[in-house]
């Protein structure tokens, strides 16, 4: 059936189609404007809130912009790459960068594995209980971060926290959840992992429902056991969902901000300061807008590069 349409031009085969063709040139001009008109609002928004701020940040990052510069523009000086050299020589910047790297290295596989595992389990049943569980797992994703952080802060608290109380009941000495620079990193990451799984479980569940049952049935008839079916059929067919979740999760970890901001303010001794939090503090706490802009531009480049590499890997995968 496809061959007929390719062989004969539609106009010749079906005279009825002719009428629209008569207004050909006008239609074509129309056709060239309409798509742009549809795209324009989104494009303008992207331009105004995406591209323009980046350009402004790029310009600001070459100046000494701070609070005095805001008050009186004659105080603004062009200082070239000085902000960038200062950034490179700031140990706290590298500390924040390595924290972010660690968060991503630990966090991305954890979120991926946890949400995939939960989604596979939830997908096994469609009972009322399973549906209730789905809602339960989605809860963290829709709860306000401030509330989440407050509650976790109380759970972690070293004086009256529930976790240390439970540990003391079974005779384990208290853990400095948010006070030890090493433990605090994992405590903060755990909250973020817990929060992020909800949405990703839903994405995986949707993808799982898109896998035709026939494949699994055919494999079962051929004698494939459950493990083989999951590993050889389900997970390969989830490839695109996994790819999507990986990319968004990586970006989220690179922009990691909410949990340390509310839970620890980046402490103790900067152990949970992510690169976003570092930029925020330099910019909005200490009013060093030029310096912070340089930092945000560096972060932008890092995210762009990481995402491009992932896309490139994915393309090779498709080929």
């Amino acid at each position: 059936m496809t061959s007929t349409s390719t062989v004969a031009p539609p106009g010749a085969a079906f005279p009825r189609v002719r009428r629209p063709r008569r207004s050909g040139p006008a239609n074509r001009r129309h056709g060239s404007v309409v798509p742009y008109a549809f795209v324009a609002p989104a494009f303008l928004l992207l331009l105004a809130f995406g591209v323009l701020p980046i350009l402004v940040a790029a310009v600001v990052s070459t100046t000494n912009m701070n609070i005095s510069g805001l008050a009186d523009s004659s105080n603004i000086r062009f200082i070239g790459a000085a902000n960038y050299t200062r950034l490179v020589h700031d140990p706290e910047f590298w500390h924040a960068l390595s924290n972010t790297g660690l968060f991503a290295v630990v966090g991305v596989p954890s979120i991926l594995a946890a949400s995939l595992a939960v989604a596979l389990l939830l997908h096994r049943s469609d009972s009322r209980f399973a549906r209730a569980l789905r809602a339960f797992y989605f809860m963290p994703a829709i709860t306000a971060i401030v509330a989440v952080a407050l509650v976790w802060g109380y759970l972690y608290n070293s004086q009256f926290g529930l976790f240390n109380y439970l540990l003391s009941v079974v005779g384990i000495s208290p853990v400095p959840w948010l006070s030890s620079p090493t433990v605090a990193k994992f405590s903060v990451a755990l909250v973020a992992i817990w929060r992020a799984t909800g949405l990703n479980i839903i994405i995986f569940l949707a993808a799982l429902q898109g896998i035709p049952k026939e494949y699994l049935e055919a494999a079962a008839i051929d004698g494939a056991n459950e493990r083989q079916r999951t590993l050889r059929i389900t997970i390969p067919l989830l490839r695109f969902a996994i790819f999507f979740v990986t990319i968004t999760t990586v970006i989220n970890w690179l922009q990691f901000f909410d949990e340390p901001y509310v839970l620890t303010q980046g402490g103790p001794v900067g152990a949970t300061t992510s690169i976003s939090l570092y930029i925020f503090q330099q910019g909005f706490r200490y009013n060093q807008f030029g310096f912070a802009s340089a930092g945000s531009l560096v972060l932008f480049v890092i995210i762009a590069v990481v995402t491009l590499v992932q896309l490139r890997l994915r393309r090779r995968d498709v080929d």
């Binding site: 701020p53 940040a57 805001l70 523009s73 306000a144 802060g153 948010l178």
Partner: protein, 426 residues
């Protein structure tokens, strides 16, 4: 509950957005820095005045100034800004050039906003208001000590200081009938209290407290700002302050938990001593009214002297205000002894007017007398731009040495370099 949370998140988001927009607009616009700052001496200036105050004091402020409005006919619009949004709000106002007429500025933010030129120089008009002469206020907030070369950019309003809070019941049980008055006694008492058992400490040092080490340096007879007006921590006095500070961590008499709750620790008795402000007294009375009589306040323990922190807020007139006359009348009114005493009674915020302080300290309230006395031996944070950042670097460095075992020599050296670099960036 949920709605409150949603709203607070929305507020946070909005603040960030405003901040971002402010940063953006600053890049492209040439902010109208000064416009029409003239005040016609013709006729009475009846405002209305836009006033920004900090914290949850809007209605109280409106009430406190009702008399002023009836006397002078000057209307007042109050905006109460939550403390956590103050920096954003003021920065946005600087960026847009649209500020209030009268603004409350915390003394720790004052150097930044004074240096940014956000506040009007009042030196030419202050002579008309004898009630606002520096002699009426503590030396710490004398304009000449607020580092603005002869300018008067702000006037004192409310004060706050740091004193020693202690659990008299616990100290007595440990054999100390009076609170420690010197550094040595402080270390000794803290150590003895720590020995009460597991999970018990002597003295709580908030790890986020970025002024306590500076107070110690003052008490050791030094300063953290050199004669050239630049920050300098590399002094024997600051080294002595660091010794004192670290001693509490070295012998375990101070908890190392970064999420230690000051009020909870004091009420439970786990940390029966803490240096804090009058707000802690309020928090303790609310959290544990049954503890009344079992705790008290005392002057900061001394080394060479007992200098404490002078915190609080000043009032300034925004640079673009066109109602300087009315604004000055309002400030004059707010600084009158009667207004200041009434404000303390309504809000619990201490006066700066010496007469009002004196009057309050004679009311028989022992704590008030201690605050008033401590205020006479107190200093503001150094009035150098970027101080907030420097102070936080200091707190981080000392926390690293005290709680994570970082090397003292190298950590302090890195901090000295960082502090010098920060001041050169501002």
């Amino acid at each position: 509950m949920k709605r409150v949370l949603v709203r607070s998140v929305a507020a946070v988001a909005a603040t960030v957005l405003v901040g971002v927009l402010a940063a953006c607009s600053s890049g492209s616009s040439t902010a109208p820095a000064t416009q029409g700052a003239t005040t016609g001496a013709t006729g009475a200036d009846t405002g209305p005045l836009k006033v920004w105050v900090m914290g949850d004091v809007g209605p109280a402020f409106q009430k406190a100034t009702a008399d002023f409005t009836t006397q002078t006919g000057i209307g007042i619009q109050v905006d109460a800004i939550p403390w956590e949004n103050v920096n954003d709000k003021l920065t946005t106002a600087v960026a847009s050039g649209q500020g209030p007429d009268v603004v409350q500025v915390g003394l720790s933010l004052l150097p930044t906003f004074a240096a940014a030129g956000a506040l009007k120089d009042l030196s030419s008009v202050i002579g008309n208001y004898p009630g606002l002469a520096p002699a009426n206020f503590p030396d710490a907030v004398d304009p000449k000590n607020l580092g603005s070369d002869g300018k008067v950019l702000s006037l004192p309003w409310i004060s706050d200081t740091r004193v020693l809070f202690y659990r008299s019941d616990i100290l007595t049980a440990a054999g100390f009938s009076t609170p420690p008055t010197t550094w040595d006694q402080m270390e000794q008492v803290a150590k003895a209290l720590k020995a009460r058992g597991d999970g018990q400490y002597g003295y709580y040092i908030p790890l986020w407290d970025n002024t306590l080490p500076v107070q110690y340096a003052w008490q050791a007879g030094g300063d953290v700002v050199g004669a050239d007006g630049k920050v300098n921590f590399d002094t024997p006095e600051f080294a002595a302050a660091v010794d004192h500070y670290l001693s509490f961590f070295a012998d375990g008499s101070a908890p190392t938990a970064s999420d230690w709750d000051q009020t909870q620790g004091f009420v439970s008795g786990a940390t029966p001593m803490v240096v804090s402000g009058p707000y802690l007294a309020k928090a303790i009375s609310q959290a544990a009214p049954e503890l009344a009589g079992k705790w008290s306040v005392a002057l900061s323990p001394k080394d060479k002297n007992g200098t404490s922190l002078f915190a609080g807020s000043n009032l300034g007139v925004w640079k673009t205000s066109t109602h300087v006359d009315a604004a000055m009348q309002l400030i004059d009114y707010l600084d009158k002894p009667a207004t200041q005493t009434a404000w303390y009674k309504a809000q619990g915020e201490l006066p700066t007017n010496l007469k009002a302080l004196d009057e309050l300290s004679k009311t028989g309230d022992a704590a008030l007398a201690v605050y008033a006395k401590q205020l006479t031996e107190a200093r503001t944070v150094p009035m150098v731009p970027g101080w907030d950042l420097i102070a936080n670097e200091m707190a981080t460095a000392l926390t690293a040495i005290g709680t994570t075992g970082a090397d003292r020599g190298t950590t302090l050296k890195a901090f000295y370099a960082k502090a010098a670099q920060i001041s050169s960036n501002y």
